[in-house]
C-alpha cells in the first residue's frame, strides 16, 4: 500500500442506528474501506440523515438536518454509508428537498454525486475483491428496499459474498419484498409490520440458511427482533461484518459471550 498521503479520503456517514446500536458495523466498514486503500475520516458534526423527520412529513426539520449534513460532509471526495437507506436519502432526496433553493440545490447535488452505499462503493468504485476471508456458513441475503430500488444494489453484495471462502449463498423466495421495517412505520403500524416481517422470516428460514445478512441495519434489527421473539436461532449480521471477517462476533440481538 502506498503511503498515508496518497490515500483517498473517504468520509464515513456512520448512520444513527450503527452509531448507537451496532458500532461493530462502523468498524467493519472502516476496515473494508482501509483495505481498498482509503483513509477514513468521520466528521464529528453528523447525527442522522433526517429520514425520521422526512418520512413523518416534517419537511422543515428535515431541511435543517440535511443542511447540517451537507455542511459536515463538504469537500470530501467520497462519502460512504453502510446503509442503502441513508445513502439513498442523501443521494435521491436531498436534491428534491432543495429544489426551490438554487444555492442549496447545487450543494445538495454536489453531495449526492459524492455519496455512495458501502457495498456498491466497494464493488463498483473501488473494484474490491474479498481476500482471505473465511465464513463456513449457509447465508441468505435480504434485499433491502432502499438499497435495491434507490441505490441499485443487487449484484454487488452477491458477487462480494461469492468471494468469501466456504460461504454458501442461498437465495430466499420473494427476497425483494420489504421486511416491514420502514423506519417509524414499524412502530406506528406495528401489527401490519409484524405480518410483513413474519412473511419475510418464513421465506428466510425456508432457505435452511444459518445466517441472514443485508446492507441495512434497520431491516436486520427488525428481522432479528422478530426471529428472537419467535424463538428462532438464525444469526443476523450486517454484510460489512461478514466481508470484514468479523462474522464470528455475536449476531444482532444474540447473547453476548
Amino acid at each position: 500500500m502506498s503511503n498515508e498521503t496518497d490515500k483517498i479520503e473517504v468520509a464515513l456517514f456512520v448512520t444513527c442506528l450503527v452509531d448507537i446500536n451496532r458500532p461493530s458495523v462502523g468498524f467493519a466498514t472502516v476496515k473494508l474501506l482501509e483495505q481498498t486503500g482509503c483513509k477514513v475520516v468521520v466528521p464529528d458534526a453528523q447525527t442522522c440523515c433526517g429520514q425520521p423527520a422526512y418520512n413523518s412529513g416534517d419537511r422543515r426539520t428535515t431541511k435543517q438536518i440535511a443542511a447540517d449534513v451537507i455542511k459536515a460532509f463538504k469537500g470530501f471526495r467520497y462519502v460512504v454509508a453502510p446503509s442503502g437507506s441513508c445513502a439513498g436519502m442523501i443521494k435521491k432526496h436531498y436534491p428534491e428537498l432543495f429544489a426551490d433553493d438554487p444555492d442549496m440545490l447545487l450543494e445538495a447535488e454536489d453531495l449526492a454525486a459524492r455519496t455512495h452505499e458501502l457495498v456498491s462503493f466497494l464493488a463498483d468504485v473501488r473494484k474490491f475483491k474479498v481476500d482471505d476471508v473465511e465464513f463456513e456458513k449457509k447465508v441468505t441475503y435480504h434485499d433491502s428496499c432502499s438499497s435495491l430500488r434507490e441505490m441499485k444494489v443487487k449484484d454487488q453484495p452477491r458477487s462480494l459474498l461469492a468471494g468469501v471462502e466456504d460461504l454458501e449463498l442461498i437465495e430466499a423466495e420473494d427476497r425483494e419484498a420489504c421486511c416491514g421495517f420502514g423506519g417509524t412505520f414499524c412502530i406506528k403500524y406495528s401489527e401490519v409490520s409484524e405480518e410483513m416481517v413474519d412473511r419475510k422470516i418464513d421465506n428466510l428460514r425456508a432457505t435452511g440458511a444459518e445466517v441472514v445478512t443485508a446492507g441495512d441495519l434497520g431491516c436486520l434489527m427488525n428481522i432479528a427482533g422478530r426471529l428472537y421473539r419467535q424463538g428462532h436461532k438464525m444469526k443476523v449480521l450486517h454484510i460489512a461484518e461478514i466481508l470484514a471477517d468479523m462474522g464470528d462476533k455475536p449476531g444482532i440481538g444474540e447473547e453476548r459471550r
Partner: protein, 474 residues
C-alpha cells in the same frame, strides 16, 4: 360507498385475523407478481413502452381540455351524447335521467370503478331500477353486498368455498338447489343466471379503459366478454368514465394497451378488447340504439397542475396492489374506500379528504415496489410523502407521533447534545439487556416490542469509540 379509511388500523386488524382472506391474498401475491415478471421479461421493449405510455398520458394531461372537447365532437358526430358532470351527484342524476327516459327497470353493468366511486348501484336500487353486475367478480361481491377489494379482481378476497355458499344461497330461486363446489361449474351457473339478464336488460352500463379522442370511441378490456354483452344487447348503452381516460389516437391506445394487461395479469392482451363508436348504424346487425358517455370530473381537474397530477396517469392495472406488501397483509377493504393499495393510499386523501384518509399514506414502509412496477411510472411514494407533509402541516394525526419527531429533531440538530444523549441511551439500553443482547420490553413505547425483541446496543456508541481511538479503525 361509505368511507371507513379512518378505521384503517381496526380494519387491518380484522383482516389479518381472517384466514380465508389470508389464503386469498396469498394468491394475489404469488400469482400476479410472477405473471407480470414473466410477461415483462418476454418483451425486450417493455421498459421503453412504459416510458411511452407515461409520455402519452402526460401529453394528454397537459392538454386535457383540448382532447376532451375533441372527443365530445367525435362522439356527437357518431350520433352519441356526452354528459359533462362535475360531481358524483351530477353523474348519478345524468345516468338516472337516461334510464328514466327509456323507462328502464333493469340495468346490466360491466365492471367500472367509477360507478363504485359514485355508489351507483345503491342509488339506482333506491330509485327502483335493478342493477346487475355481469363481471364474475363484481357479481360475486354484489351477492355478498360488499365493495370490491381489488381494482381488477374485485372478489379476489373470496375463496371458492365462500362463492359456493353465496351461489347456493342466491341461485336457488333459479332452480339451482344443489350446492356446487366445482369452480368451472360455479362459473357455468353464474353464466346461465346472467344470460337471461343480458337479453332482458333495458340499459347496459360499462366503464371505459380509454376514450379515444380521434374517433370518439370508448374502449373496454375484459377477460370474460361480459362487457360486450352488457353494451351491445340493451337498447341503451351508457359509458361512465372519468376525464383522464381520454387518449389522443388509436395508435396511442395500442401503445398503452401493451403495458396494461402485462402489468395487471401478465397477459399479453386481455381476452376481449372492445371499441364502441356511437350507437348502432342503420346497416349494423346489432348494437345499442342510444349511446351516452357520462364524463365525470369528481375532483380530478383540481389535481391538474399540482403534485397530484401524476396520479391521473393511472390506467387501473392493479400492479401496485399486486406487489404491495402492505396490501398483501391487510387486503383491499382495509383501505376503506373504492381504491385500495398504493394507488388508493395516494388518491383517496384527495377524494375523501386527508382527515378521513390520514392513515392510508402513512401506512407504508416506502419500499417503493409500487413505483417499480407501475406501467406509467407514477411516483407513488413521493405522493404518499406529499400527504404526510400536508398532514404534518395541518396537524392531522396522533399528537404523540408529532411530538416524538419534534423532540428527536431538537437533538438531531444539535450534534454535541445528541452525542451525549445517544451515549447515555446506548449505555442504559445495553446494561438493561445484560448478557441477553436484546430487550423484551421498552419502558416508553411498545410499538416495537409488542411483537419484536429490541436488539440491544453493543455498549459505547461508534462515535464515542472512534473519538477514544483518536480517529482510527481497529
Amino acid at each position: 360507498m361509505e368511507v371507513t379509511s379512518r378505521q384503517f388500523k381496526e380494519n387491518a386488524h380484522e383482516a389479518m385475523q381472517d384466514e380465508n382472506l389470508r389464503a386469498a391474498l396469498g394468491r394475489v401475491k404469488t400469482g400476479f407478481t410472477t405473471a407480470r415478471r414473466t410477461a415483462a421479461d418476454a418483451l425486450p421493449e417493455f421498459e421503453d413502452l412504459r416510458d411511452q405510455a407515461r409520455d402519452i398520458k402526460n401529453h394528454v394531461l397537459d392538454n386535457l381540455d383540448y382532447y376532451l372537447e375533441y372527443f365530445e365532437d367525435q362522439v356527437t358526430q357518431q350520433g352519441g351524447h356526452v354528459h359533462w358532470c362535475s360531481t358524483h351527484k351530477e353523474a348519478r342524476d345524468a345516468i338516472l335521467k337516461i334510464c328514466r327516459d327509456v323507462d328502464a327497470k333493469t340495468v346490466t353493468k360491466g365492471k367500472s370503478m367509477i360507478t363504485e366511486e359514485i355508489a351507483l348501484n345503491k342509488f339506482l336500487a333506491a330509485e327502483g331500477i335493478e342493477p346487475i353486475e355481469t363481471d364474475l367478480g363484481e357479481y360475486i361481491i354484489q351477492l355478498a353486498d360488499e365493495p370490491p377489494s381489488h381494482i381488477i379482481g374485485p372478489a379476489v378476497h373470496k375463496t371458492k368455498d365462500q362463492v359456493t355458499e353465496l351461489f347456493h344461497e342466491h341461485h336457488q330461486k333459479y332452480g339451482y338447489t344443489e350446492r356446487e363446489e366445482d369452480a368451472e361449474k360455479l362459473v357455468g351457473e353464474a353464466r346461465a343466471v346472467l344470460r337471461h339478464k343480458y337479453v332482458t336488460a333495458d340499459v347496459g352500463i360499462t366503464g371505459a379503459n380509454f376514450l379515444v379522442a380521434e374517433t370518439g370511441s370508448t374502449v373496454i378490456v375484459t377477460n370474460e366478454g361480459n362487457g360486450d354483452l352488457t353494451q351491445s344487447l340493451p337498447k341503451t348503452h351508457i359509458v361512465v368514465a372519468s376525464l383522464e381516460k381520454v387518449i389522443p389516437t388509436l395508435e396511442d391506445v395500442s401503445t398503452v394497451m401493451r403495458v396494461l394487461a402485462r402489468s395487471a395479469t401478465g397477459q399479453e392482451m386481455s381476452v376481449y378488447t372492445t371499441f364502441s363508436t356511437g350507437p348502432k348504424r342503420s346497416d349494423d346487425i346489432d348494437g345499442p340504439e342510444n349511446f351516452h358517455v357520462v364524463l365525470l370530473d369528481g375532483g380530478r381537474s383540481e389535481m391538474i397542475g399540482t403534485e397530484l397530477q401524476e396520479l391521473l396517469r393511472c390506467i387501473r392495472c392493479g400492479a401496485c396492489m399486486n406487489h404491495c406488501p402492505v396490501y398483501h397483509a391487510v387486503g383491499g377493504h382495509s383501505y376503506g374506500w373504492v381504491y385500495p393499495g398504493p394507488i388508493g393510499a395516494a388518491l383517496n386523501p384527495q377524494m375523501v379528504g386527508l382527515e378521513e384518509a390520514y392513515h392510508l399514506p402513512n401506512a407504508s414502509s416506502f419500499c417503493g415496489r409500487c413505483e417499480e412496477v407501475c406501467p406509467v411510472r407514477i411516483p407513488i411514494p413521493k405522493i404518499l410523502r406529499h400527504w404526510r407533509e400536508k398532514a404534518f402541516e395541518q396537524q392531522i394525526g396522533p399528537k404523540p407521533d408529532r411530538w416524538g419527531i419534534e423532540i428527536w429533531g431538537f437533538f438531531a440538530k444539535r450534534p454535541a447534545l445528541y452525542r451525549l444523549m445517544t451515549k447515555i441511551g446506548a449505555r442504559v439500553l445495553s446494561s438493561l439487556s445484560g448478557k441477553k443482547g436484546r430487550l423484551k420490553k421498552l419502558p416508553f413505547n411498545n410499538g416495537w416490542t409488542r411483537c419484536r425483541d429490541l436488539p440491544a446496543p453493543q455498549g459505547k456508541t461508534f462515535m464515542e469509540q472512534w473519538a477514544a481511538k483518536g480517529g482510527r479503525g481497529d
